[in-house]
Each structure stands twice: as structure tokens, then as C-alpha cells.
């Protein structure tokens, strides 16, 4: 069974360039603004959308994504509303893959089977759930696979060669290599080390390997893009939203436009990565 994610990566492979994967927090700062940001992403050059599910206690996230989640929750966002956001986006775009990313508890409370049914119906293609390692696959990963959703796993610098097969076993769609130990939004590591890590993972899987944590600029997107099948950008985008919010939390400029400007630059970066590698 192929998903939108599989089809998108196959198309990019034919095009010979890495993917730009953009993370936005669902419902930040409110539902309507968040939907306008989502709608602006494909035209700005995003190939895959990661849609953040806000959680009160995001243990693996840095201050920027923590704050974005709190803004969304304050704006009345719930898991049901995040699914609704995806559905509203999907009504106008049937091609761009959407991966929902977050923590397990809201899904567990929503009910796993009900969530999978509703996620499929909303046009969700994959899931990244930070606090579900392979040891907990029976919780959500295996049911998600049965429901036809990709379960995308994080591999990290602490995932050694002995552990990689276990991490990759039930992974589909792509592999998300977290390029450093730490929380989201931290400094970018040495790109040569990223290249070596991507090669190491590719020795164990045919899936595309995408790299995230710390990418903020067009130049960084290009550098990481030369070493990987995709570049994930999260904190920089979330910050672009935060930067146009006033003290009262209301936008002082159009957040969708601010995000689109940033994403266009990053998209140029991943396209440069192709030109550089074929030159």
C-alpha cells in the first residue's frame, strides 16, 4: 500500500532533490490563522507537512515549540480540532502528505482506534509520536500500520548499529534522523557528521532518511540537503509565527505570509542542494 508520503518521495527522487519537511503547531495561535499557514505551505515549497499536536508537557521540545503548544492550547486547540484542521486543509490539497507529530497521551485519551479512524478520514498519512519507542509498538505503531498510516520513527545519535534494526523494523514512510541529542531548536551540528550518520542508517534501510533539529536558514537547508533525502524545519517556522504576534497574542502582521517567506528561502536551499550535487 503506498501512501502520499511514498508517492511524494518517489517523485522527489525522480526530480533528484531532497524534500523540505515543514513543522507547524496545529492551532497556533488559533484555528483560522493556523489553517491559513497550512494552506500557504505547499505554494511556498514545502513537500511534506508535519502538523504538531499540542501537549501540555512536551518533554522533548525546546522553549519555542513549548510556547507554540501553549499558545495553541490557550486558543482552544484540542486533538479533535487538530484533526479538523487537517481535514480542512485536505479539502483543497489532495497531494501534500501530512504527518501528525506529538506525544502519546492525547491520542491515548482520545482512544487509539477512534483516533486512527478519524485520522484516516481527515487525510492524515503518517504519525510521529515522540514518546513511543519500538518497545511500546503494540500501543499505536502496529494499529497504525494496520490502519494504513505510516509510523515514522526517530533515530538519534544514541541509536547505535545494534539498536537500529529494532528502531527501523516497523518504520515506514521515512526515517527522521534527529541530528543531535537534545531538545528541538538547539544548535545545528557539524554537517559532515550528519552525512556519516545518514550513510550509517542507509546501510540498514531503503527508506528515505530525513534530518532535523537545528535547521534555520537556506544555507543550512542546502548543506543538510546534500547529505540527506529530506530536511526538517520546525523551530524556525514556529518562531516566524511568534515574531508577528503582539503582546496580546494577536497577529500584528500576517503569520501565513511570514511563514511563506521563510519557507520559500528554505525551499530554494533544498533546490540548491540538487544543483550542487549534480554539478
Amino acid at each position: 500500500m503506498t501512501t502520499r508520503i511514498d508517492r511524494r518521495f518517489a517523485a522527489l527522487r525522480a526530480e533528484g532533490r531532497p524534500a523540505l519537511i515543514t513543522y507547524v503547531m496545529g492551532g497556533d495561535p488559533d484555528f483560522d490563522t493556523s489553517l491559513s499557514i497550512l494552506k500557504a505551505l505547499p505554494a511556498a515549497g514545502s513537500d511534506v507537512i508535519e502538523l504538531g499536536m499540542p501537549f501540555s508537557d512536551p518533554m522533548a521540545d525546546g522553549p519555542a515549540i513549548q510556547a507554540a503548544g501553549l499558545r495553541a492550547l490557550k486558543g482552544g486547540q484540542t486533538l479533535a480540532r487538530t484533526l479538523e484542521l487537517a481535514r480542512a486543509f485536505r479539502a483543497g490539497d489532495d497531494d501534500t502528505p501530512i504527518v501528525m507529530m506529538g506525544y502519546y497521551n492525547p491520542i491515548y485519551i482520545y482512544g487509539v482506534e477512534r483516533f486512527l479512524t478519524d485520522a484516516r478520514a481527515a487525510g492524515i498519512d503518517g504519525l510521529i509520536v515522540v514518546d513511543l519507542p519500538p518497545e511500546m509498538d503494540a500501543e499505536l505503531c502496529l494499529p497504525a500500520m494496520r490502519a494504513g498510516l505510516n509510523f515514522i520513527r526517530l533515530a538519534t545519535p544514541t541509536t547505535d548499529d545494534r539498536r537500529l534494526p529494532k528502531v527501523l523494523e516497523n518504520t515506514s514512510g521515512f526515517v527522521y534522523y534527529v541530528s543531535m541529542t537534545g531538545i528541538t531548536g538547539s544548535a545545528l551540528p557539524d554537517t559532515s557528521r550528519v552525512g556519516a550518520a545518514v550513510e550509517r542508517i542507509k546501510g540498514h534501510t531503503d527508506l528515505p532518511v530525513c534530518v532535523g533539529f537545528g535547521v534555520k536558514t537556506r544555507q543550512q537547508a542546502e548543506a543538510i540537503g546534500r547529505a540527506a533525502d529530506g530536511v526538517v524545519v520546525g523551530t524556525a517556522i514556529v518562531n516566524a509565527v511568534a515574531n508577528v504576534l503582539g503582546e496580546d497574542g494577536r497577529p500584528t502582521a500576517d503569520p501565513a505570509e511570514a511563514v511563506a517567506t521563510l519557507v520559500s528561502g528554505l525551499a530554494a536551499g533544498v533546490r540548491d542542494a540538487r544543483l550542487a550535487s549534480t554539478a
Binding site: 501537549f55 501540555s56 492550547l73 519507542p133 544514541t158 541529542t181
Partner: protein, 406 residues
């Protein structure tokens, strides 16, 4: 919730996956998984290493001052006019609470693992002080995460930690209490996996923490068993302990879980009452969910967002509970009840006046439950309560509460 069939033993958990029934587990980011597996291997090796046990026993005896006494509270017993009340006096330990039992065990594990930096979270500051103490004793740098609200209400402990050489980092997220401190400690750990050992203070978190913390704290129950047999020639009728995360309670209860005639009561923080949001009675008023590496009872919204809770006692101010307690609740083995802020303050004053012991606000909750139960029991019956911490740290908060200026 229906009760599962009674198991043959309540003392065999967790299983290999770190589960107590549906509770517990390893709900952590991949970055931490190899570390947790390493800890599990070292823990299993340490358990069967006589040298590890010897060193811990020596430290418990000569550094902490174990065994702690089992004290017959004669005047309180007379005052309540029912069951005989004994206190397991873990407040007399070095550093002033049961927390040192766990910290000594874990610092030995950290050393076995070759870790060179210690991090910890703390609520009341008792675990922070105990962590800073063992870090000083073993010559390791220590960072303690503490909610900003708690930094303010537990100022004496903050100073103690700093004197002991630890760096105290106030956490302003959320309500600035234990939950937020734990999030921040996890963020530090995920960033510094190579050299850092996370010294968790309660019997919660990802497997194997709930098991190893329980085992280090079970020295409380093992001693109690011997001491009560010596004093009364029989086992107690009831054990009572406060539960925040639940480490002092599981330490007292665990060695008795298969003695079916010993009743057990865990006392949660009822805060300002269970009808509103200002309490921390996760077992009484919460439902199962996943937070901080384990599945357990949590205070949470309909959407699975974790609530902040409230308790006058910083050590009980946590919206979750160790997973083994969740399992014991559903198995019907232990009763869990709430005690309100006011009742705890009253019990705090009662003990101070009647027995000349100033308890911490955490065991003052347990005491308030004893005050309710003892009069309904016979004079030939025996209650053992874990007096798990002393109240020096709380005198400022209590004074404020009573409208006194000190």
C-alpha cells in the same frame, strides 16, 4: 474500574517490559531508550552483586543512620483512644527524610555506569537536598531542577542545596511545581545523555526507575517488619503513608503486600477539595494516561492535557503517581484517600504539641488519616505510619498559613 482477579503475589512486578498490569512501561524519546536499557542492565547486575549490597548497607548504617527507630506514640495513641500508633521515623535520617535511601542506591548505580554528572528534580526540596548530599559525598557535580513556586515556598532547602554545591535551576513553566521540574530535568537528560545520570526522586518514570526506587526504599518496610514483630510480636493491622509520587509509601508497603491481614492506606493531597481543580488526588480523581515515561493515573483534561494541581505540600504537588500504586489501587490491595490542606495543617500542629515532633507537611497528610481511623479501631490493634520527613523546611509556609510573622 473492575478489579482483576487477585494475583498469587503482589510482589512479583514489574514484568520484563516494566509493566505492572497496564501501568508503567517505557514511554520515552528514542534518545533516552539506549540509556534506560543500560540502566536496566546495570541495575540487574547490581542486584545480584554482594559488593553493591554491602556498600549500600554500610552507607545506610553509618551515613544515613539506619535502621530508623519504630516509635510508639503513646500520647497520641491515648489522645485518639483507639489503635496503638507507631511511627517509622525516617525523618531522623541524615538529610531529614526517606529520600536519602533512594539517592544512595542510585548514586552507586551512576558510578557503576561511569556517569560523571547528576541531575535531579525536586518538589519540596527533600529529594534535591538528598541528591545534592550524595553528589557532594561522591564528588560529582549536581544540577537540581525545581519549580519556581517551590523555590519560593521551600527557601531553606534551596539554600541547603546551594551550600552542598548543587546548582538549583528554577523552572517557570506551568505552575512552577514538580511536574514542570521533571519536564525540565528530562530535557537536560536528553541533551546530555553521554555523561549524565538522572537521579529520579520517586517511584515513577520509565522502567526500571519505579522498580529500583521501590527496592531502595523497601528498607523502610523490611526494618518495620522486624521492629514491629519485636515490639508487638505480630504484624500491624494497618500501614499508612502519604503518596505524592509514592516512594515512601511503596517502600513501607512492598514487604507487606502479601500479608493479607495487613491493611494499607495511601494518603493523597486533597488540596482545597476535590470538587475544584486545586488538589493532587490523581488516584481518587484522575484516570490512566501517559506522562514522564510511564502509564499511570493522572489529573488531566478530556483532551489528555495534564493539569497542574495544587497542594500546600510541595512534595505532594504532582498530578501523577508511581505506576505500582495505580496497579495496587485497581487490584484493590491498597486504599487511597485524599486529605485536605486544612486537615494536614491541623495534624501537623497536633503532632508537634502531643509528641514533640515537627513533621513535614507530607506525612502530616498521612497523620490526618491516622487521626480519622485510629479512634474507630480497637486498642489491641496496631497502626504503623511512615513519618517520612521532618518539618523544618515547612515552618515558614505553616507560619504564613497560620497568619504568624516569623
Amino acid at each position: 474500574m473492575s478489579h482483576p482477579a487477585t494475583p498469587n503475589s503482589f510482589r512479583t512486578g514489574p514484568d520484563e517490559a516494566g509493566m505492572f498490569g497496564i501501568f508503567g512501561g517505557r514511554f520515552v524519546a528514542e534518545t533516552l531508550m539506549p540509556l534506560i536499557l543500560h540502566l536496566e542492565r546495570e541495575w540487574n547486575a547490581a542486584k545480584s552483586d554482594p559488593a553493591f549490597k554491602d556498600e549500600l548497607d554500610r552507607l545506610n548504617a553509618h551515613y544515613t543512620g539506619r535502621p530508623s527507630p519504630l516509635y510508639f506514640a503513646e500520647r497520641l495513641t491515648e489522645h485518639l483512644g483507639g489503635a496503638k500508633i507507631y511511627f517509622k521515623r525516617d525523618e531522623l535520617n541524615h538529610t531529614g527524610s526517606h529520600k536519602i535511601n533512594n539517592c544512595l542506591g542510585q548514586i552507586l548505580l551512576a558510578r557503576r555506569m561511569g556517569k560523571t554528572r547528576i541531575i535531579a528534580e525536586t518538589g519540596a526540596g527533600q529529594h534535591g537536598v538528598a541528591s545534592a548530599t550524595v553528589a557532594a559525598r561522591f564528588g560529582l557535580p549536581c544540577v537540581v531542577y525545581m519549580g519556581a513556586t517551590d523555590v519560593e515556598r521551600q527557601a531553606p532547602n534551596v539554600f541547603r542545596m546551594r551550600l552542598l554545591g548543587a546548582e538549583v535551576k528554577p523552572v517557570t513553566a506551568g505552575h512552577g511545581t514538580l511536574k514542570d521540574a521533571m519536564n525540565e530535568a528530562l530535557r537536560d537528560w536528553v541533551t546530555n545523555v553521554e555523561d549524565t545520570y538522572y537521579l529520579i526522586g520517586t517511584a515513577a518514570g520509565p522502567h526500571p526507575y519505579p522498580e529500583l526506587v521501590r527496592d531502595f526504599q523497601s528498607v523502610i518496610g523490611r526494618e518495620t517488619r522486624e521492629q514491629v514483630l519485636a515490639a508487638e510480636g505480630r504484624l500491624p493491622d494497618m500501614l499508612v503513608a502519604a503518596v505524592g509520587g509514592g516512594s515512601n509509601a511503596i517502600g513501607l508497603f512492598h514487604p507487606f503486600l502479601d500479608d493479607k491481614d495487613v491493611a494499607m492506606v495511601g494518603v493523597e493531597a486533597g488540596g482545597k477539595g476535590l470538587s475544584g481543580e486545586e488538589h493532587c488526588a490523581s488516584l481518587t480523581a484522575g484516570r490512566p494516561g501517559v506522562l514522564h515515561g510511564n502509564r499511570t493515573y493522572l489529573l488531566q483534561s478530556e483532551d489528555g492535557q495534564i493539569k497542574d494541581g495544587h497542594s500546600i505540600s510541595a512534595g505532594l504537588d504532582y498530578p501523577g503517581i508511581g505506576p505500582e500504586h495505580s496497579w495496587l489501587k485497581e487490584a484493590g490491595r491498597v486504599d487511597y484517600v485524599p486529605i485536605m490542606d486544612d486537615e494536614a495543617i491541623e495534624a501537623f500542629q497536633l503532632l508537634t504539641c502531643l509528641e514533640g515532633i515537627i513533621p513535614a507537611l507530607e506525612p502530616a497528610h498521612a497523620l490526618a488519616e491516622v487521626v480519622k481511623r485510629a479512634p474507630k479501631m480497637g486498642r489491641d490493634q496496631v497502626i504503623v505510619m511512615n513519618l517520612c520527613g521532618r518539618g523544618d523546611k515547612d515552618v515558614f509556609a505553616v507560619a504564613k498559613r497560620l497568619g504568624m510573622d516569623i
